[in-house]
Subunit: 234 residues, 2 copies
DNA sequence: ACAAAAGTGTTTTTTATACACCCATGC
DNA sequence: GCATGGGTGTATAAAAAACACTTTTGT
């Protein structure tokens, strides 16, 4: 009977937000202040504690780094080959480090970063992310792919938009994440309204010049029957 | 500093195959011969050994249970709450059991089950699967969902079809997994052929009565540019 | 008045769906 | 010749894509 591996399980979070003012997609990164990979940027993570579920652990990491009410979170993937963490290297048949990654999208406007004064923390625009510690660059890319899919196929956008929003704000969010190459505003608008789960509040709001926009809200009840329908928003 | 949890990591496989003769979707189950859940059916699984990657472990489970050349395998999900395995219960702050599940689709015709004479092993039609041990019923359902998605959006069918196959065989495979409620044969045919990665070998084959069918083969090269294109086959 | 942003409508193209029908073979 | 499964074509409906145009505001 071959010997079983003993594991510590880490949770690493890929945390995204969208800055709707500057139209930038951001990822939350932490600057490591200890070996290995000292002073390199990495995903926020932690090791799972006794009595704690994986998801609890993921929420804990998140809440230790940012204060935010509105978010979406789900499990991403588990990376568990031997030797992915250099801390194993010295004693390769000792404890293994398995990383269960989670993916989160949080509301940028309300998210307050919690600086602990020891390690750095920052929102990085996705196109400026440096090479990360461990295999975190791979995990980040994987999360980015998931973000784009989720946005297209499910209503996670409404978890991070304000209670009421203009269709243009919604459009900006999609465009920022998915890039330029998709439907124009007019077609996007028509498609989404036809789906029937965006309720016009009647309230108008004026953002500087131009015609005032209607504020809409997401109607979860009207959306319910569309669950599992493999919607495509874009 | 709160104490970290110590884990053993298990790999549980959701293994599907499609019987093209009887048009049945099958799942591979193992009858447990020890506590807990003695004599109940479960997913084939194992614990990860020293020096072994998660994926290696998944392939090992598979190869211990069936001999098969043609298959598709990918990671499914990680289930890791405390108390999901009763073996933890006695000593809840001792070792935790985390299950990383994998999903596989294997070729039914060539798959030879390996009976070890101790525990039972069997292909169960998906609509006759009993309640499983642990949380394996949930995992199986999750895998079933993934199977249907994968089949619709990616070319995994060709990993388990013979080198050459008729369009009708392909259609039967899709219909067996996805159920009756989808495109008829004629439209399925047209759509797939238009995608351009099915090459007609010119060879005809006669299955009993009726006009002989053309044998087709999957042209991986012609498919390559369609990768990441979010194809829909159905 | 005019620029800017919101919102509507129209036209064209592509894709999905439902069938009707023809073709080649075994019995 | 006719049942059986293979394969093609057509007619309709729905969805996607491109883009022109109107409306309402601030300056």
């Amino acid at each position: 009977m071959p010997a079983l591996a003993d594991f510590k399980v880490g949770v690493d979070n890929v945390i995204f937000s969208v800055d709707l003012v500057q139209n930038r997609l951001l990822a939350l990164l932490i600057r490591r202040n200890e070996a290995p990979y000292q002073d390199q940027w990495s995903l926020p993570g932690t090791l799972v504690r006794q009595g704690e579920s994986l998801e609890q652990s993921a929420y804990r990491v998140l809440s230790e780094k940012i204060r935010v009410k509105h978010l979406y979170l789900e499990q991403l993937y588990s990376f568990g080959g031997p030797f992915r963490d250099p801390r194993e290297a010295a004693d390769s048949f000792g404890v293994r480090y398995l990383s269960v990654s989670y993916f989160a999208l949080v509301q940028y406007e309300e998210a307050a970063l919690i600086a602990d004064g020891v390690s750095g923390i920052a929102w990085y625009p996705m196109d400026q992310v440096p090479k990360l510690a461990f295999d975190h660059s791979d995990i980040l890319q994987y999360g980015y792919k998931r973000l784009r899919n989720k946005l297209e196929y499910s209503p996670i956008a409404f978890d991070v938009l304000p209670e009421v929003f203009t269709l243009n704000e919604l459009y900006q969010l999609y465009q920022t994440v998915l890039g330029e190459g998709f439907a124009d505003y007019s077609n996007f608008r028509t498609r989404l309204l036809k789906l029937g789960f965006l309720a016009d509040t009647g309230v108008k709001v004026s953002r500087g010049a131009g015609r005032p926009a209607s504020l809409y809200k997401f109607d979860a009840e009207a959306f319910a029957p569309l669950k599992d329908k493999a919607l495509v928003f874009v």
